[in-house]
Each structure stands twice: as structure tokens, then as C-alpha cells.
């Protein structure tokens, strides 16, 4: 028998790079290709994180690394009809639609529609060809490579969402971005590279919608970079419902300018191992950042949220509310880091993490990490872990409602203050629906 030599994950992905490069068809001259090659060097130098790394103490990525995933570009991309993707879309409101299949832009499935003058909503590969100058100063500048997962995404960066909103422009309709991941043949590696850039006094709302199709294992390894210009308002929703056997890692890095507001919503349903790094840097004064998170896990799911607000400048505020509902043998990790730097006087920073365990075997590791170097600040944090309240359950049942439905009402009640912050009304009820679908519990729908 011809035994394959055991290769490390780094070696495996480095060894596929030549095949990827061959597929680029002469695009290996672009600015992006220099970035890729540097990242490939990083990939050779950096190891994938282990539990010995403090940032990855509770999340073991070995199960991800034992598979040899095939980067989507060098794998076959499944074809979908418009009708087939409909069930995956959030509905009952108007939106510009972008669709990516295994991280590659599917123009034929997308419906971008009319955009205000100067607004770009497109795929990264097309922009790299047609207008590289519009993005070259942002890509891989907003976000730096922290670990081998980031290096892997960057080395193979090819496609992803690009949104550019010029000064003074408001997008009335949100952009819905469907990332559909699926493969019949390979264990596919989906590597979206997303960029959202907003100019002065602009406003945009983006809903990223990650979905799995079929039951084959795949791996989404994503980087999203966000630049919120002066006085801009950026809402970024992430609703992640990959299939339960897949792996999902994203690093989101935002940089905010003066008077800007950034609202990040992070709702996790799917994935066997999920890791989100949500980072924001305050690069000027009077900035507002809101993080809202909700994670639902059952079976053996592992969901790790690492959030970070870097208060580098004075007179800014951040507010964070993360809530988890964990069932069966699932495990949650929450690490909320806030740094208030010496110059960042008059900072207001608040953080809350609340978790409900629905079974005796579900667990959560929660850790606030506040590092405060300024003296005139208001900061608070709190973490609670509990179960559904017996008295509340009794109250509901004493009205004739069966126990299972009473529990569903209490789950909905618990998730409510996060869901309530969602600004798109029809999205609220659809997220509520997904909660019960995911936890396999009786649904409770509000009367219209």
C-alpha cells in the first residue's frame, strides 16, 4: 500500500496553492496576488492555534485540521436554480440580493437591482479586475493576519462581498447576502473575503446569511473587513445557519471613524465548531459600537464568540449584549475583551453575557476581559448562567399551557431583548422561527 505521508494542515493547503494559481488565468498580476503570496508565506510560518494558545483555550480546532478540505476555486462548484435558493432567503422585505456558492459569486442567482449613484455591490473578483483602486487600500489593511486561519483565507482570497457606499449616500434597502455552501464530491473549503466601505454621512445595512445545503462536511473560513467613515451608520447582521456537521470560522474587523455608529448582530444556529472573532477599533472620537449576539446550540455543537472593542480614542461608547441558549451536550465560549487606552477618557463601555442551559450536560465558559488604562471612564460587565425559571414555567402552565410550550415561551422571552434590537421587523419573526426549528422545540408564534 502506498501510504500518504502525514502532512500538517499548513503543508496541505500550501501544496494546493499551485493548482489555485493556475486557475487564476493571468490574474496573478493583481495587487491581490501580492497579498496572497505574502499570506502564503505567513501560512508556512504560523501554526494553527491549539488549546495552549490563551485565545483558543476552550476551542479545539484539531477536528477541522484532520480533514483535507479543497479550496472552492479548485473544486467543482454546484449549480443552483433561482427557485432552489428561495427557501434559504429571508423574506417579506425588499433587499438587494447577492448570492455566493461556496464563497464564489453567483451572478446568475443574484438580484442586485437599482443602486444609488456611485454605490458598488459586487463580487471581489470582479472588482479586482475592473476597479482595483477602489479597494486596494482597504483589503488586508483593515484586518491583519492573526493566525493560520486568517493566513489561509488571505492566501486563497479570490471572491467575496464588496460594498462601497460613497459620501452622503443612504441605501434604503438592506443588502441580503446568501452564502450557500454545499458539495457532492469534495470536502469543500469556502473562503469568502468580504469588504464593506462606507463614506462620510452614509448609511448601509447588510444581512449576511450563511447556509448549508446537503449533509457533506465543509469548512467556511471567512474574513470580513468593515470601514465605517465619518458619521456613517453601518448595520451588519450575521445569521449563521450552516449545517450542523460543518465548521465555521470568521474574523470580522471593523474600523470606525468620527461620529460613526456600527451595529453588529451575530446570530448563531449551525456548525459543529464555530468561532467568531468580532473586533472593532475606534479610530476617532464620538463613536458608538453595539454588539448583539445570540447563540443557540444543541447536540455536540461548540460555539465560541470572542469579541473585542478597542477604545483607542476619547468620548466613545460601546454596548454589548450576548445571550446563549445551550441544549444537550453543546458547549459555549464567550470572551468579551474591552481595552480602554490611556487617551480614551470619557469612555462608556458596557458588556453583558447571559446564558441559559437547557440540559444538565451543556456548558459555557464565559470571561469578560476589561483592560482599562484611562481614569475617567464608565465600564461595566456582567455574566450570568442559569436555567429556565421554574416559577415562570409554573405561571404559564397554570393557565393550561403544556410544559413544552411553556418552555418555548420562556426561551423566546429570554432571546427577546436581543431579537428586539433587530431593526428589520420581518426578520425578527423569521429569526424566532429559526430558534425553535434549531432547538427542535414547539414553536410559539405571536399573533399578528
Amino acid at each position: 500500500m502506498n501510504n500518504m505521508e502525514h502532512k500538517s494542515a499548513n503543508e496541505w493547503y500550501i501544496s494546493r496553492f499551485k493548482l489555485f494559481e493556475d486557475k487564476l488565468n493571468g490574474q496573478s498580476k493583481s495587487f491581490l496576488h501580492d497579498i496572497r503570496k505574502n499570506a502564503l508565506t505567513s501560512l508556512a510560518e504560523l501554526s494553527f492555534p491549539t488549546n495552549r494558545n490563551e485565545e483558543w483555550k476552550y476551542t479545539n480546532v484539531a477536528p477541522i485540521l484532520k480533514h483535507n478540505f479543497i479550496p472552492a476555486m479548485i473544486s467543482t462548484v454546484p449549480k443552483f436554480q433561482k427557485e432552489e435558493i428561495k427557501p434559504f432567503l429571508f423574506k417579506d422585505f425588499d433587499y438587494h440580493l447577492m448570492v455566493f456558492v461556496n464563497g464564489l459569486f453567483a451572478e446568475e442567482l443574484s438580484e442586485i437591482g437599482n443602486l444609488p449613484k456611485g454605490v458598488v455591490v459586487d463580487g471581489l473578483n470582479r472588482i479586482t479586475k475592473n476597479n482595483p483602486d477602489s479597494i486596494s487600500k482597504y483589503i488586508n489593511n483593515l484586518s491583519k493576519i492573526d493566525n493560520a486561519f486568517n493566513a489561509l483565507n488571505t492566501a486563497y482570497s479570490y471572491d467575496g462581498l464588496v460594498v462601497i457606499v460613497p459620501d452622503g449616500t443612504i441605501l434604503e434597502k438592506p443588502i441580503q447576502v446568501l452564502y450557500l455552501n454545499s458539495s457532492k464530491d469534495d470536502l469543500v473549503l469556502s473562503l469568502p473575503r468580504n469588504l464593506i466601505v462606507t463614506g462620510k454621512n452614509s448609511q448601509v445595512s447588510v444581512i449576511t446569511n450563511y447556509r448549508g445545503f446537503g449533509d457533506k462536511i465543509y469548512f467556511s473560513n471567512i474574513i470580513t473587513e468593515v470601514y465605517a467613515g465619518e458619521n456613517a451608520i453601518v448595520d451588519l447582521y450575521k445569521i449563521q445557519n450552516e449545517n450542523d456537521e460543518s465548521y465555521h470560522i470568521e474574523k470580522m474587523q471593523a474600523i470606525q471613524k468620527q461620529n460613526s455608529v456600527f451595529n453588529h448582530y451575530n446570530i448563531t444556529f449551525g456548525g459543529a465548531i464555530v468561532r467568531n472573532d468580532i473586533n472593532t477599533l475606534h479610530d476617532d472620537q464620538n463613536i458608538e459600537t453595539h454588539y448583539y449576539g445570540l447563540y443557540l446550540a444543541h447536540g455536540k455543537q461548540h460555539v465560541d464568540n470572542h469579541t473585542f472593542v478597542d477604545h483607542a480614542k476619547p468620548n466613545c461608547m460601546s454596548n454589548e449584549l450576548y445571550k446563549g441558549i445551550l441544549d444537550d451536550n453543546s458547549r459555549g465560549v464567550f470572551n468579551g475583551k474591552i481595552i480602554v487606552r490611556r487617551d480614551a477618557q470619557k469612555t462608556n463601555a458596557y458588556q453583558q453575557n447571559k446564558t441559559i442551559l437547557l440540559s444538565k450536560t451543556a456548558t459555557i465558559d464565559t470571561k469578560p476581559q476589561l483592560e482599562i488604562f484611562a481614569d475617567d471612564v464608565k465600564c461595566s460587565h456582567g455574566a450570568t448562567v442559569g436555567h429556565l425559571d421554574d416559577t415562570s414555567e409554573f405561571y404559564i402552565r397554570s393557565r393550561g399551557v403544556p410544559q413544552e410550550l411553556a418552555k418555548s415561551m420562556l426561551i423566546r422571552a429570554f432571546a427577546n431583548d436581543v431579537i428586539d434590537t433587530v431593526k428589520i421587523e420581518p426578520l425578527k419573526e423569521q429569526i424566532n422561527h429559526m430558534i425553535f426549528e434549531h432547538l427542535h422545540r414547539v414553536e410559539i408564534e405571536n399573533e399578528k
Partner: protein, 254 residues
């Protein structure tokens, strides 16, 4: 309708009810009075099936059926209702959803069809009017942002909507100003009829000026130590609970 025989119950391993006997017939209103810690709320919670309370002895028959074998939702569907001393807030669930779910569960159990949306709305309009409630209440989340008085009124509203046969009022007057007390009592009096029965648990006689009981029982240290007509409530108001305790003491030492 309800027959309580030698009922004993524990809370956190401590015996609170020490042998309650009480017979309530259709059409009657009974009041249970007693000092704090006498076991009034325990009785209300045991009868409605709160699992934090453990029954150690005795039995309770509700229309001939063994009540203590039923879970809380079955008791409700059989026609029991507890107006809570401290109603619970349920964010994200509207009063409409809550009541429609409860009502339809109760109707299904009793082989009645679900109410049509129109029937449901008409019933809401009817009942909110009785209690002087704004009918926008129905789209608000259950008890969220309600004042103490509004919560108590909402309990009575739920009672009117669900139409139970046997109603327990647990300290419904606590925290109510005189106007709210009148409204709440009026709701109860309108609903009171020969086919239902009430057990009113209260520390003070005040509520009984508005909801006139047929019988008054005094609960002390987990036992009913005195029963009488509504004049007993007035006597308690005048003299406090101490004279009964003394009397009891004398009986025990006789």
C-alpha cells in the same frame, strides 16, 4: 366542588400545612385569612400544582377527581385558576398569543372547537371593558412594564378570558389602591355565579368589603383554627389575630 381532606405539605423540607380540611360548594365564596407565614399562599400553590411544594399527606377532590394527581396545566383545563400574588413578566410573548394559546388548550381538552379570530377579539373587547383596560394591552408583552396594580388587573382579565370554575385569589388586594381594588373586585363580582366558586386568600379584611364571602376561615400555623360567616372577618379586623391564638392556646391546654 372542592374537597380538601387532611392536607399536609412541605416547603424545602419544612412542614407548612399541617392537616387542612375544607369543603367548598358550587356558588360559594370562601375567604382564608391569617397572619404572615400561616400557610395561605402555600395552600393556593399546592392546589394549583406548583412543584416547589411537596404534598406529604391527605387528598383533594375537585369535582370528584383526584386533583393532586394532575399536573398544573391539567388542573387549569379542568377549570382551576390562580390569580398570582406576584404575576410573572414574559417578554416577547404578547397577551394575545398567551391567552389564545391558553384558551385553545383549555377548549381542546374540553372538546370545544378553537375560537375564531372574531370570537376571540370580541371576547377581548368585552372583558377589557369590564376592567377598564385599554385594548391595546392585548398586543403588549405579558405583564412587561406593568405597574403592580396593572398586573393584578391583568390576572383578573385572564380569569375573565379563560372562564374557570374554581378561582383562587392569592393576596389580590396587595399593592392595590382603592380605585384599582374597586375595579378588580367588580370584575370578580361580575364573574361570580352559582356555577363557580372562589377561595380568596388575604391578609386584610379590606378586600372582603368588596368581595363578600359566604365563609371565612382563619389559618394559623398550617391549620384552620376557626371558621365562620363574613362577620368573622370584621371581628378579625377589629381585634387582630391574637385573640384567636389565645383561644386556641386555651383549647390546647384544656
Amino acid at each position: 366542588m372542592l374537597s380538601i381532606n387532611n392536607l399536609h405539605a412541605n416547603v424545602d423540607g419544612k412542614e407548612i400545612l399541617k392537616g387542612i380540611n375544607l369543603e367548598i360548594k358550587t356558588g360559594e365564596v370562601h375567604a382564608i385569612m391569617g397572619p404572615n407565614g400561616s400557610g395561605k399562599s402555600t395552600l393556593a400553590n399546592v392546589l394549583t400544582g406548583n412543584k416547589s411544594y411537596e404534598v406529604t399527606n391527605g387528598n383533594v377532590l375537585f369535582e370528584g377527581k383526584n386533583l393532586l394527581d394532575m399536573n398544573p396545566e391539567t388542573r387549569a383545563r379542568e377549570g382551576m385558576f390562580l390569580a398570582f400574588q406576584y404575576p410573572i413578566e414574559i417578554p416577547g410573548i404578547s397577551n394575545a398569543t398567551f391567552l389564545k394559546t391558553a384558551l385553545n388548550e383549555i377548549r381542546k381538552y374540553n372538546n370545544f372547537p378553537e375560537l375564531t379570530p372574531k370570537e376571540f377579539l370580541d371576547r377581548i373587547k368585552d372583558k377589557t371593558k369590564i376592567l377598564g383596560l385599554d385594548d391595546t394591552l392585548i398586543s403588549r408583552a405579558v405583564n412587561v412594564g406593568f405597574s403592580g396594580g396593572e398586573k393584578k388587573r391583568n390576572e383578573i382579565f385572564q380569569m375573565l378570558m379563560l372562564e374557570p370554575k374554581f378561582i383562587l385569589l392569592d393576596e389580590t388586594d396587595s399593592g392595590l389602591d382603592i380605585d384599582a381594588l374597586r375595579i378588580v373586585s367588580n370584575g370578580v363580582n361580575i364573574y361570580r355565579n352559582p356555577n363557580n366558586a372562589f377561595l380568596v386568600v388575604t391578609h386584610y379584611q379590606r378586600l372582603l368589603n368588596y368581595i363578600q364571602p359566604d365563609f371565612v376561615h382563619v389559618l394559623s400555623k398550617g391549620r384552620i383554627i376557626k371558621s365562620g360567616g363574613k362577620e368573622l372577618a370584621l371581628e378579625l379586623e377589629e381585634k387582630g389575630y391574637d385573640w384567636i391564638k389565645t383561644e386556641e392556646f386555651e383549647i390546647e391546654n384544656a
